[in-house]
Subunit: 337 residues, 2 copies
């Protein structure tokens, strides 16, 4: 392994000079800088991460806690993780991957050991056990998601309330009166993961204003669960003509079942999905959808974190405005029979 000292010797300068060339924290004459840079190239020098972390008290690592469960939004999670990693690299940071498995202990371990300079938490619950620890530590952090109490925290998330409202507006505008929300798996609600409730709240309150009747049913993904759920929906509200689907893995089953029942989309029934654009365009009907901006969320989280690391940061809640894209799965409500 090549060390700083070896580079310094090769370039005929002191170790500290090489260090300053690398960090740019003091001015260095052009000639010296060039010589040092050449030596670095020539010897193939890479600063030792451990030594650097020890001396500077910064590891240049961001910890990313992803959920262990795979009961929801897997592609979204993946996309966020990749966006976080890519943006972090662009700022000179690496990403340490943590699963929820260790729970709050992971936070303690990482902050205590100086393994990472900062954290990004995904899959935040309304009353998350990790939050008190985050508030206690001086280590910057950003949540992707929205807990009940956001005081002293920085959060980035899609504005799910507005998302719900947007869905209601679109369906109301098309003349629908009875709509059904196919929600996430019951486990997601039990876990109090906020976003599902927020969507529903937004949708319900806007629906009230617009005179829509809303029926909400949680639903595990998959064909069988969807089949049961759908039967119950039409049983209870035969006049339902609009669907809002929040659970990605319920989308395709729903479309298949509607088809099988002879209900045409969008002539008889309109469907809006809350999902990544890719899913919306790949479905068997091109879906009108509100996109989940995974990239933007990941990038936003990193940028806020970097700002905080550089002391420019502020605690705030950034809600990304939802965008509804009209495609082929929504249309005017059918004339009443």
């Amino acid at each position: 392994m090549v060390t700083l000292a070896e580079v310094a010797q090769h370039a005929g300068v002191s170790a500290s000079t090489v260090s300053y060339v690398l960090s740019g924290k003091r001015s260095i004459s052009a000639g010296t800088r060039e010589r040092v840079e050449q030596s670095i190239q020539l010897l193939g020098y890479h600063p030792n991460a451990g030594a650097r972390a020890l001396a500077s008290n910064r590891s240049n690592i961001i910890a990313l806690m992803i959920p262990l469960r795979t009961d929801m939004y897997v592609p979204v999670m993946m996309e966020i993780a990749i966006a976080v990693t890519t943006s972090a690299r662009a700022h000179g940071y690496d990403v340490l991957l943590l699963t929820g498995e260790e729970g709050p202990d992971a936070v303690r371990r990482v902050t205590g050991s100086g393994l990472a300079d900062a954290m990004i938490l995904m899959d935040v619950e309304l009353d998350d056990g990790r939050l008190p620890l985050l508030r206690d530590t001086t280590q910057p952090s950003v949540l992707i998601g929205l807990p009940a109490d956001t005081s002293g925290l920085t959060c980035v998330d899609l504005d799910f309330g507005a998302t719900g409202a947007l869905c209601a507006e679109h369906l109301a505008m098309l003349g629908h009166r009875d709509i059904a929300v196919i929600g996430e798996a019951p486990a997601v609600y039990e876990r109090h993961t906020g976003f599902a409730e927020r969507t529903l709240d937004g949708l319900r309150s806007r629906s009230r204003e617009l005179g829509l009747r809303v029926l909400h049913r949680p639903c595990e993904g998959g064909f069988d669960a969807m089949s049961l759920t759908l039967a119950r929906v039409f049983d209870e509200r035969p006049g339902t003509t609009g669907f809002v689907v929040q659970n990605e893995s319920a989308v395709e089953p729903l479309l298949a079942l509607l088809r099988r029942q002879g209900r045409a989309v969008p002539e008889d029934v309109s469907v809006i999905a809350i999902c990544p654009d890719q899913v919306a365009v790949q479905a068997s009907v091109r879906l009108t959808s509100v996109a989940i901006p995974a990239q933007e969320m990941g990038r936003g989280a990193v940028e806020h974190l970097i700002a905080k690391l550089e002391g420019r940061g502020t605690d705030d809640v950034v809600l990304i405005a939802p965008e509804l894209t009209v495609r082929a799965s929504t249309g005017p409500a059918p004339a009443a029979p």
Copy 2:
């Protein structure tokens, strides 16, 4: 931040003693050990990662390179990443997430800086630019995937050749004679990611032995692409009664299209998918499938890596035997018309 020295002082011993309590590398009397452990608890001590890495020359971090692209198998990738992280933690290692973005440079950076003790590479191409670097370094590594030349490398992967053969056998046994393979997106083949070709080779050679006729068509996921592909298949081979689908995002479109054409699954047409079990059971028909054992692959990779880190490891290629689960999407070939 609490340091070793503070713990030592609190427990009334020297710093080295505390270190030995922590590492167990020298014997410590029960009494001393207990006192030290109590002090650690009481003070909430966590060893500083940087200092430890510097002094011991090991970071206890494994780097995991995941593909940047999301054109294939996203859930599988995610599941592998989670399995890797979980198993690594069980062995006392953390996981650093790298995207393919940096390419070979990432390998250089990580090995050069001592950021990680070892690497796991996913999405390995047949002639991957990172492989020469891996062969050159002393740092242990494991590939998930199979390059063209495996000499000096350790690889873990599903035996895709056997997977293809298994699909052929199952369909042949059921009396099918004309089968179609719906492959990955063309981009996957252009990238030479091995597994797609291996599946096809295995399937073709077994088919030859069994007298099956095979038509292979790459296919982007999604409804529109699948629609085109399917039309061409039946155009060219009207007697096709068996499908093997390798592209996850083509499964549901295929089923929908067959239904629309009035071809019943499994009465008229049999479908085998190569996909995670979860996808197979959640589809609109419970799919006969060969599972992609993501968990097992992730865990296997970590275990091999740990073995190498401890000096017990050997370079070898571990191919996981495929398992075919019969569900509701395959049945006897229909009698010839």
